[in-house]
Symmetry: C2
Subunit: 151 residues, 2 copies
Protein backbone atom coordinates (compact mmCIF):
# COMPACT_ATOMS: atom_id res chain seq x y z
CA UNK A 1 0.00 0.00 0.00
CA UNK A 2 1.10 3.52 -0.72
CA UNK A 3 1.81 6.45 1.57
CA UNK A 4 -1.12 8.55 0.45
CA UNK A 5 -4.58 7.21 1.34
CA UNK A 6 -6.36 8.29 -1.84
CA UNK A 7 -3.75 6.50 -3.98
CA UNK A 8 -5.18 3.25 -2.56
CA UNK A 9 -8.79 4.06 -3.46
CA UNK A 10 -10.06 2.51 -6.70
CA UNK A 11 -11.66 5.56 -8.32
CA UNK A 12 -13.23 3.32 -10.98
CA UNK A 13 -15.35 1.62 -8.31
CA UNK A 14 -16.86 4.59 -6.48
CA UNK A 15 -20.26 6.15 -7.16
CA UNK A 16 -20.52 9.90 -6.56
CA UNK A 17 -21.90 11.63 -4.69
CA UNK A 18 -20.76 9.96 -1.48
CA UNK A 19 -19.13 10.64 1.90
CA UNK A 20 -16.41 8.24 3.02
CA UNK A 21 -13.95 8.04 5.92
CA UNK A 22 -10.65 8.47 4.08
CA UNK A 23 -8.26 8.50 7.02
CA UNK A 24 -8.19 8.27 10.79
CA UNK A 25 -5.17 9.15 12.92
CA UNK A 26 -4.73 8.97 16.69
CA UNK A 27 -2.26 11.40 18.25
CA UNK A 28 0.26 10.31 20.89
CA UNK A 29 -2.02 11.83 23.56
CA UNK A 30 -5.21 10.20 22.31
CA UNK A 31 -6.93 12.80 20.17
CA UNK A 32 -8.48 11.48 16.98
CA UNK A 33 -8.31 13.22 13.60
CA UNK A 34 -10.75 11.93 10.98
CA UNK A 35 -10.58 12.94 7.31
CA UNK A 36 -13.72 12.50 5.20
CA UNK A 37 -13.67 12.25 1.42
CA UNK A 38 -16.74 14.27 0.39
CA UNK A 39 -17.18 13.42 -3.29
CA UNK A 40 -19.45 15.59 -5.40
CA UNK A 41 -18.55 14.50 -8.96
CA UNK A 42 -17.97 11.13 -10.57
CA UNK A 43 -14.17 10.60 -10.92
CA UNK A 44 -12.85 10.83 -14.49
CA UNK A 45 -16.35 11.47 -15.85
CA UNK A 46 -17.11 14.96 -14.56
CA UNK A 47 -15.66 17.66 -12.32
CA UNK A 48 -16.69 20.96 -10.75
CA UNK A 49 -15.43 24.17 -12.31
CA UNK A 50 -12.91 26.04 -10.18
CA UNK A 51 -14.99 29.15 -9.59
CA UNK A 52 -17.72 26.98 -8.07
CA UNK A 53 -15.12 24.99 -6.07
CA UNK A 54 -13.60 28.21 -4.72
CA UNK A 55 -16.96 29.68 -3.69
CA UNK A 56 -18.14 26.39 -2.19
CA UNK A 57 -14.91 26.32 -0.15
CA UNK A 58 -15.62 29.79 1.29
CA UNK A 59 -19.32 29.12 1.87
CA UNK A 60 -18.81 25.73 3.49
CA UNK A 61 -15.82 26.84 5.60
CA UNK A 62 -17.99 29.64 6.99
CA UNK A 63 -21.33 27.87 7.46
CA UNK A 64 -20.20 24.42 8.60
CA UNK A 65 -18.59 25.94 11.70
CA UNK A 66 -22.02 27.14 12.83
CA UNK A 67 -23.13 23.50 13.00
CA UNK A 68 -19.95 21.85 14.26
CA UNK A 69 -17.19 23.19 16.51
CA UNK A 70 -14.85 20.31 15.68
CA UNK A 71 -13.95 21.20 12.09
CA UNK A 72 -10.23 21.44 11.34
CA UNK A 73 -10.46 22.03 7.62
CA UNK A 74 -12.69 21.87 4.56
CA UNK A 75 -10.53 22.01 1.44
CA UNK A 76 -10.76 21.11 -2.25
CA UNK A 77 -9.18 18.12 -3.97
CA UNK A 78 -6.85 19.01 -6.82
CA UNK A 79 -8.89 16.76 -9.11
CA UNK A 80 -11.96 19.03 -8.63
CA UNK A 81 -14.27 16.08 -7.90
CA UNK A 82 -14.57 16.63 -4.15
CA UNK A 83 -13.34 18.08 -0.87
CA UNK A 84 -11.68 16.74 2.26
CA UNK A 85 -13.42 17.51 5.54
CA UNK A 86 -11.07 17.06 8.51
CA UNK A 87 -12.48 16.94 12.05
CA UNK A 88 -11.15 16.56 15.58
CA UNK A 89 -12.46 13.97 18.08
CA UNK A 90 -15.62 13.26 16.20
CA UNK A 91 -16.49 9.85 14.87
CA UNK A 92 -20.25 9.96 14.32
CA UNK A 93 -20.59 9.40 10.57
CA UNK A 94 -24.35 10.02 10.48
CA UNK A 95 -23.92 13.35 12.26
CA UNK A 96 -21.31 14.39 9.69
CA UNK A 97 -23.88 13.74 6.96
CA UNK A 98 -26.43 15.84 8.86
CA UNK A 99 -23.95 18.67 9.33
CA UNK A 100 -23.14 18.60 5.61
CA UNK A 101 -26.85 18.56 4.77
CA UNK A 102 -27.56 21.61 6.95
CA UNK A 103 -24.51 23.42 5.55
CA UNK A 104 -25.62 22.81 1.94
CA UNK A 105 -29.09 24.12 2.86
CA UNK A 106 -27.46 27.27 4.27
CA UNK A 107 -25.57 27.70 1.00
CA UNK A 108 -28.80 27.56 -1.00
CA UNK A 109 -30.07 30.42 1.19
CA UNK A 110 -26.88 32.52 1.03
CA UNK A 111 -26.95 35.87 -0.68
CA UNK A 112 -23.19 36.33 -0.95
CA UNK A 113 -19.94 34.40 -0.95
CA UNK A 114 -18.30 35.23 2.41
CA UNK A 115 -14.92 36.98 2.25
CA UNK A 116 -14.95 37.33 -1.54
CA UNK A 117 -12.93 40.54 -1.52
CA UNK A 118 -9.22 41.27 -2.05
CA UNK A 119 -8.49 41.79 1.62
CA UNK A 120 -9.89 38.44 2.72
CA UNK A 121 -9.26 36.22 -0.31
CA UNK A 122 -6.37 35.17 -2.52
CA UNK A 123 -8.35 35.54 -5.75
CA UNK A 124 -11.39 37.70 -5.10
CA UNK A 125 -12.42 37.94 -8.75
CA UNK A 126 -12.79 34.16 -9.05
CA UNK A 127 -16.12 33.46 -7.38
CA UNK A 128 -19.62 32.38 -8.39
CA UNK A 129 -22.43 32.21 -5.86
CA UNK A 130 -24.76 30.66 -8.45
CA UNK A 131 -22.17 28.04 -9.43
CA UNK A 132 -21.66 27.02 -5.80
CA UNK A 133 -25.42 26.82 -5.28
CA UNK A 134 -25.78 24.61 -8.35
CA UNK A 135 -23.17 22.18 -6.97
CA UNK A 136 -24.79 22.22 -3.50
CA UNK A 137 -28.29 21.68 -5.00
CA UNK A 138 -27.12 18.72 -7.08
CA UNK A 139 -25.31 17.17 -4.08
CA UNK A 140 -28.36 17.66 -1.81
CA UNK A 141 -30.68 16.09 -4.38
CA UNK A 142 -28.87 12.77 -3.79
CA UNK A 143 -28.82 13.05 0.01
CA UNK A 144 -30.16 9.50 0.39
CA UNK A 145 -27.16 8.10 -1.55
CA UNK A 146 -24.33 9.82 0.33
CA UNK A 147 -23.61 6.74 2.43
CA UNK A 148 -23.24 4.47 -0.63
CA UNK A 149 -19.60 4.63 -1.72
CA UNK A 150 -19.18 1.64 -4.01
CA UNK A 151 -21.36 0.31 -6.82
CA UNK B 1 -13.06 38.13 14.31
CA UNK B 2 -14.54 35.61 11.94
CA UNK B 3 -14.87 31.84 12.18
CA UNK B 4 -12.46 31.05 9.38
CA UNK B 5 -8.81 31.90 10.02
CA UNK B 6 -7.95 33.00 6.48
CA UNK B 7 -10.83 35.50 6.50
CA UNK B 8 -8.85 37.41 9.15
CA UNK B 9 -5.64 37.56 7.11
CA UNK B 10 -5.09 40.79 5.18
CA UNK B 11 -4.18 39.40 1.76
CA UNK B 12 -3.12 42.90 0.63
CA UNK B 13 -0.29 42.90 3.17
CA UNK B 14 1.38 39.53 2.50
CA UNK B 15 4.38 38.94 0.23
CA UNK B 16 4.46 35.59 -1.54
CA UNK B 17 6.12 33.19 -1.45
CA UNK B 18 5.94 32.59 2.30
CA UNK B 19 5.14 29.95 4.92
CA UNK B 20 2.98 31.02 7.85
CA UNK B 21 1.30 29.31 10.81
CA UNK B 22 -2.37 29.77 9.93
CA UNK B 23 -3.96 27.85 12.77
CA UNK B 24 -3.10 25.82 15.86
CA UNK B 25 -5.58 23.64 17.73
CA UNK B 26 -5.08 21.55 20.86
CA UNK B 27 -7.27 18.48 21.26
CA UNK B 28 -8.97 17.62 24.55
CA UNK B 29 -6.26 15.02 25.18
CA UNK B 30 -3.33 17.32 24.40
CA UNK B 31 -2.40 16.59 20.80
CA UNK B 32 -1.57 19.64 18.71
CA UNK B 33 -2.70 20.20 15.12
CA UNK B 34 -0.88 22.95 13.24
CA UNK B 35 -2.01 24.26 9.85
CA UNK B 36 0.54 26.09 7.71
CA UNK B 37 -0.39 28.50 4.93
CA UNK B 38 2.17 27.70 2.21
CA UNK B 39 1.75 30.55 -0.25
CA UNK B 40 3.26 30.21 -3.71
CA UNK B 41 1.63 33.09 -5.61
CA UNK B 42 0.93 36.73 -4.76
CA UNK B 43 -2.78 37.05 -3.80
CA UNK B 44 -4.95 38.82 -6.38
CA UNK B 45 -1.94 39.38 -8.66
CA UNK B 46 -1.16 35.87 -9.88
CA UNK B 47 -2.22 32.28 -9.37
CA UNK B 48 -1.12 28.77 -10.32
CA UNK B 49 -2.97 26.98 -13.09
CA UNK B 50 -5.05 24.02 -11.91
CA UNK B 51 -3.13 21.33 -13.78
CA UNK B 52 0.05 22.42 -11.99
CA UNK B 53 -1.83 22.66 -8.66
CA UNK B 54 -3.22 19.15 -9.11
CA UNK B 55 0.16 17.61 -9.98
CA UNK B 56 1.93 19.51 -7.20
CA UNK B 57 -0.71 18.12 -4.80
CA UNK B 58 0.05 14.53 -5.86
CA UNK B 59 3.83 15.02 -5.92
CA UNK B 60 4.00 16.78 -2.55
CA UNK B 61 1.53 14.41 -0.84
CA UNK B 62 3.74 11.51 -1.92
CA UNK B 63 7.24 12.93 -1.34
CA UNK B 64 6.69 14.97 1.84
CA UNK B 65 5.76 11.80 3.74
CA UNK B 66 9.26 10.45 3.09
CA UNK B 67 10.66 13.38 5.07
CA UNK B 68 8.03 13.74 7.79
CA UNK B 69 5.79 11.13 9.42
CA UNK B 70 3.57 13.77 11.03
CA UNK B 71 1.75 15.07 7.95
CA UNK B 72 -2.05 15.00 8.12
CA UNK B 73 -2.76 16.71 4.83
CA UNK B 74 -1.35 18.80 2.02
CA UNK B 75 -4.20 20.34 0.02
CA UNK B 76 -4.80 23.23 -2.37
CA UNK B 77 -6.52 26.53 -1.58
CA UNK B 78 -9.52 27.26 -3.75
CA UNK B 79 -7.93 30.58 -4.70
CA UNK B 80 -5.03 28.73 -6.40
CA UNK B 81 -2.38 30.86 -4.68
CA UNK B 82 -1.22 28.26 -2.16
CA UNK B 83 -1.72 25.09 -0.16
CA UNK B 84 -2.47 24.22 3.44
CA UNK B 85 -0.06 21.81 5.13
CA UNK B 86 -1.58 20.27 8.26
CA UNK B 87 0.66 18.42 10.74
CA UNK B 88 0.25 16.56 14.02
CA UNK B 89 2.33 17.30 17.13
CA UNK B 90 5.00 19.21 15.33
CA UNK B 91 5.79 22.82 16.08
CA UNK B 92 9.28 23.35 14.68
CA UNK B 93 8.74 26.02 12.00
CA UNK B 94 12.30 25.86 10.67
CA UNK B 95 12.06 22.10 10.22
CA UNK B 96 8.81 22.54 8.25
CA UNK B 97 10.70 24.87 5.89
CA UNK B 98 13.47 22.26 5.51
CA UNK B 99 10.95 19.50 4.84
CA UNK B 100 9.27 21.67 2.19
CA UNK B 101 12.66 22.47 0.66
CA UNK B 102 13.63 18.79 0.40
CA UNK B 103 10.20 17.91 -0.99
CA UNK B 104 10.44 20.59 -3.71
CA UNK B 105 13.91 19.27 -4.60
CA UNK B 106 12.42 15.76 -4.95
CA UNK B 107 9.78 17.18 -7.28
CA UNK B 108 12.42 18.72 -9.54
CA UNK B 109 13.96 15.22 -9.82
CA UNK B 110 10.67 13.37 -10.39
CA UNK B 111 10.05 11.66 -13.69
CA UNK B 112 6.33 11.15 -13.24
CA UNK B 113 3.32 12.45 -11.33
CA UNK B 114 2.48 9.70 -8.81
CA UNK B 115 -0.96 8.10 -9.13
CA UNK B 116 -1.88 10.03 -12.28
CA UNK B 117 -4.08 7.26 -13.64
CA UNK B 118 -7.86 6.68 -13.57
CA UNK B 119 -7.71 4.07 -10.86
CA UNK B 120 -5.81 6.26 -8.39
CA UNK B 121 -6.98 9.75 -9.31
CA UNK B 122 -10.23 11.66 -9.70
CA UNK B 123 -9.13 13.40 -12.91
CA UNK B 124 -6.21 11.52 -14.40
CA UNK B 125 -6.11 13.53 -17.62
CA UNK B 126 -5.53 16.78 -15.74
CA UNK B 127 -1.84 16.67 -14.85
CA UNK B 128 1.38 18.39 -15.85
CA UNK B 129 4.72 17.28 -14.46
CA UNK B 130 6.47 20.22 -16.13
CA UNK B 131 3.93 22.70 -14.75
CA UNK B 132 4.40 21.38 -11.21
CA UNK B 133 8.19 21.54 -11.60
CA UNK B 134 7.96 25.14 -12.78
CA UNK B 135 5.96 26.09 -9.66
CA UNK B 136 8.38 24.18 -7.39
CA UNK B 137 11.42 25.77 -9.08
CA UNK B 138 10.03 29.28 -8.68
CA UNK B 139 9.13 28.63 -5.02
CA UNK B 140 12.58 27.15 -4.28
CA UNK B 141 14.32 30.12 -5.93
CA UNK B 142 12.99 32.32 -3.09
CA UNK B 143 13.83 29.85 -0.29
CA UNK B 144 15.50 32.62 1.74
CA UNK B 145 12.25 34.65 1.76
CA UNK B 146 9.83 31.93 2.92
CA UNK B 147 9.90 33.15 6.51
CA UNK B 148 8.99 36.74 5.54
CA UNK B 149 5.17 36.95 5.50
CA UNK B 150 4.46 40.68 5.57
CA UNK B 151 6.01 43.57 3.64
N1 LIG C 1 -9.98 25.43 4.07
C1 LIG C 1 -9.84 26.41 5.12
C2 LIG C 1 -10.04 27.84 4.65
C3 LIG C 1 -11.11 28.08 3.70
S1 LIG C 1 -11.11 29.64 2.92
C4 LIG C 1 -9.60 29.51 2.04
C5 LIG C 1 -9.19 30.72 1.34
O1 LIG C 1 -8.32 31.48 2.13
C6 LIG C 1 -7.59 32.36 1.32
O2 LIG C 1 -6.28 32.46 1.64
C7 LIG C 1 -7.72 31.85 -0.07
O3 LIG C 1 -8.53 32.72 -0.76
C8 LIG C 1 -8.39 30.52 0.09
O4 LIG C 1 -9.19 30.23 -0.98
C9 LIG C 1 -10.70 26.10 6.32
O5 LIG C 1 -11.56 25.24 6.27
O6 LIG C 1 -10.49 26.71 7.35
N1 LIG D 1 -4.35 16.00 0.23
C1 LIG D 1 -4.32 14.59 0.50
C2 LIG D 1 -4.35 13.71 -0.75
C3 LIG D 1 -3.58 14.19 -1.90
S1 LIG D 1 -3.90 13.35 -3.42
C4 LIG D 1 -5.57 13.86 -3.66
C5 LIG D 1 -6.22 13.25 -4.79
O1 LIG D 1 -6.93 12.11 -4.41
C6 LIG D 1 -7.89 11.81 -5.39
O2 LIG D 1 -9.08 11.42 -4.87
C7 LIG D 1 -8.07 13.05 -6.20
O3 LIG D 1 -7.52 12.81 -7.45
C8 LIG D 1 -7.27 14.08 -5.47
O4 LIG D 1 -6.73 15.01 -6.33
C9 LIG D 1 -3.17 14.23 1.39
O5 LIG D 1 -2.27 15.01 1.64
O6 LIG D 1 -3.16 13.10 1.88
Amino acid sequence: RMNVESFNLDHNKVIAPYVRVADRKTGAHGDIIVKYDVRFSQPNKEHMDMMAVHSLEHLTAEHIRNHADYVIDFGPMGCQTGFYLTVLNHEDYDEILEVLERTMEDILEADEVPASNEKQCGWAAHHTLEGAKEVAREFLSKRNEWHIVFA
